[in-house]
C-alpha cells in the first residue's frame, strides 16, 4: 500500500470510529482521543480532532504542506455501550498492530450497520428493571408486576419515537404521560397497586443517567462546549419526563378534585 492510500484509509477508519462512538453515547474526549490514536499509527505528521455531540472534525497533516480535513455531522444519538466498547477495542488492537487497517475498516463497517441489541431484549430488560425498582422503593409484588409492564411499554415508546425522529423532549413527555396514565388506571380506578411506586419505577429507565455522567466527564476533561450541551440535555430530559407526568396528574386532579 503506498503512502497516499494509506493516509486516506487511516482518515476513513478514524472518521468511522469517531462517528460510531459519538452516535452510541461515548464521551467527547474519548471520541477525540480514539481518533487521534488511530491517526498516529503510521505516516501522519500531526492530527487534530474536534468533536461535539452533534459532529466531528478531523484535520491531518500528511506532508509538510499537505493537509486534509473531513467533517461528519452526527444526527442520531442513542445509547449502545457495546458498540462504544467494540470501537475502543478495535482502536486498541490497531495501535498495538494486532489487526491491519483494512481489517479494522471491515469490523467497523459491519458494526456500524448492524443493530447489536434486539429491540425485544431492550424492551423486556427495561421492563424488568422498572419492576425491580418498584420493589426497591418499597412497593409490593403487585406494584412490581404492573410497573414491569408499564416500564416495558415506556421503553417501547422511547425506542419508537427515536426511530421515527420524534424529538427526545416530546418522546420523554409521552413516556412520562403513559406512566402516569397506567399508574392512575391501576391504582385509582382498579384499586390495585400504589400510584407513587408505579410511576417512580416506570420512569427510572428514562432518567438522564448517561447524560449527567457524560456532561460531567466532558467538562472535567476540558470539553466545555460538549459538557454544557449535554448538561442542558440532561436537564431537558428530566423536565420533559416531569412535565409528562405532571400534565396527566394535574388533569386528573382537576377532573376528580384531588387524590
Amino acid at each position: 500500500m503506498n503512502q497516499e492510500t494509506n493516509n486516506k484509509s487511516i482518515i476513513r477508519v478514524a472518521m468511522l470510529a469517531g462517528k460510531i462512538m459519538l452516535e452510541n453515547g461515548a464521551e467527547t474526549y474519548r471520541v477525540e482521543d480514539t481518533m487521534e490514536r488511530i491517526c498516529y499509527i503510521s505516516g501522519i505528521l500531526s492530527a487534530d480532532t474536534y468533536a461535539t455531540p452533534t459532529g466531528i472534525f478531523l484535520s491531518v497533516r500528511t506532508d509538510t504542506y499537505d493537509y486534509s480535513t473531513s467533517i461528519k455531522r452526527v444526527h442520531t444519538r442513542t445509547t449502545d455501550l457495546y458498540k462504544v466498547n467494540m470501537v475502543n477495542d478495535v482502536s486498541r488492537k490497531l495501535v498495538s498492530k494486532e489487526i491491519s487497517l483494512s481489517e479494522a475498516l471491515d469490523i467497523l463497517e459491519n458494526l456500524d450497520e448492524k443493530n447489536t441489541l434486539p429491540p425485544f431484549l431492550s424492551v423486556s430488560s427495561a421492563g424488568i428493571c422498572s419492576g425491580i425498582f418498584a420493589l426497591l422503593s418499597g412497593g409490593s409484588l403487585t406494584d412490581g408486576i404492573i410497573t414491569a409492564f408499564s416500564g416495558a411499554l415506556i421503553q417501547f415508546i422511547s425506542l419508537f419515537t427515536s426511530a421515527r425522529n420524534i424529538s427526545f423532549f416530546l418522546g420523554n413527555m409521552m413516556a412520562g404521560a403513559v406512566a402516569a396514565v397506567i399508574g392512575i388506571i391501576f391504582s385509582i380506578i382498579f384499586k390495585i397497586g400504589n400510584l407513587d411506586k408505579i410511576i417512580i419505577g416506570s420512569i427510572i429507565p428514562l432518567l438522564p443517567g448517561l447524560a449527567i455522567t457524560s456532561a460531567i466527564r466532558d467538562t472535567i476533561y476540558g470539553d466545555l462546549v460538549s459538557g454544557t450541551v449535554r448538561g442542558v440535555e440532561a436537564i431537558l430530559i428530566a423536565v420533559s419526563i416531569a412535565s409528562g407526568v405532571g400534565i396527566i396528574l394535574r388533569t386528573w386532579f382537576i377532573i376528580t378534585g384531588g387524590l
Binding site: 441489541l117 431484549l121 430488560s125 427495561a126 407513587d196 427510572i204 448517561l210 412535565s243 386532579f253
Partner: protein, 147 residues
C-alpha cells in the same frame, strides 16, 4: 435489607442489559450499583443524610468504575452509567411534580431542592473521581504522540 441489596443488584443488571452493556462487564456493573445503593441506604436510614449518602455512594461507584475500566480494558462509562442508576433521584423528581400539581408550592420547593442537591452530589462525585484518574491517562497518551 439483604433483599433490597439484591433488588439493587438486579435492577442495575437489567438496566445495563437495556443499554447493551458488554456481556462480560454486566455482573461487575451490578455489584457497582448494589454497593452504591447500600452506602446510600445506610447513610439515609441511620443518619438521615440523603445528600451525603448519595455523594459517598456515587463516589464509591465512580472509583470502582475507574478501577474496573482499567481491569477490563473498557471505557469507564460502561460501568458508571448503570452503576449510578439506583442513586439517580427518580422518586424526588416525581414527588416534586406531585406536590406542584397539588399547588403545595412550599413542599414542592423543599423536595425540588433536595432532588437538585442529590443530582448535584452525584455529579460532584463523578467529577472528583474523573479528575483523579484523568491525569494518569492523559500523560501516558502524550508520551507516544510527540506531535
Amino acid at each position: 435489607m439483604l433483599s433490597k441489596v439484591m433488588f439493587a443488584y438486579f435492577a442495575t443488571v437489567f438496566f445495563a442489559i437495556s443499554i447493551n452493556t458488554p456481556k462480560k462487564s454486566i455482573y461487575f456493573t451490578g455489584i457497582n450499583g448494589a454497593v452504591g445503593w447500600l452506602i446510600y441506604f445506610l447513610f439515609s436510614y441511620y443518619l438521615g443524610a440523603d445528600v451525603l449518602g448519595s455523594f459517598v455512594g456515587a463516589l464509591v461507584v465512580a472509583l470502582l468504575s475507574e478501577y474496573s475500566a482499567r481491569k477490563f480494558k473498557m471505557p469507564a462509562t460502561v460501568f458508571l452509567t448503570s452503576g449510578i442508576i439506583p442513586l439517580v433521584p427518580g422518586a424526588g423528581l416525581y414527588y416534586t411534580m406531585l406536590e406542584l400539581v397539588q399547588n403545595n408550592y412550599e413542599n414542592a420547593i423543599n423536595t425540588g431542592i433536595k432532588t437538585i442537591f442529590i443530582s448535584g452530589s452525584i455529579a460532584v462525585a463523578i467529577a472528583i473521581s474523573s479528575s483523579i484518574f484523568k491525569r494518569q491517562s492523559k500523560s501516558s497518551f502524550n508520551k507516544n504522540t510527540n506531535s
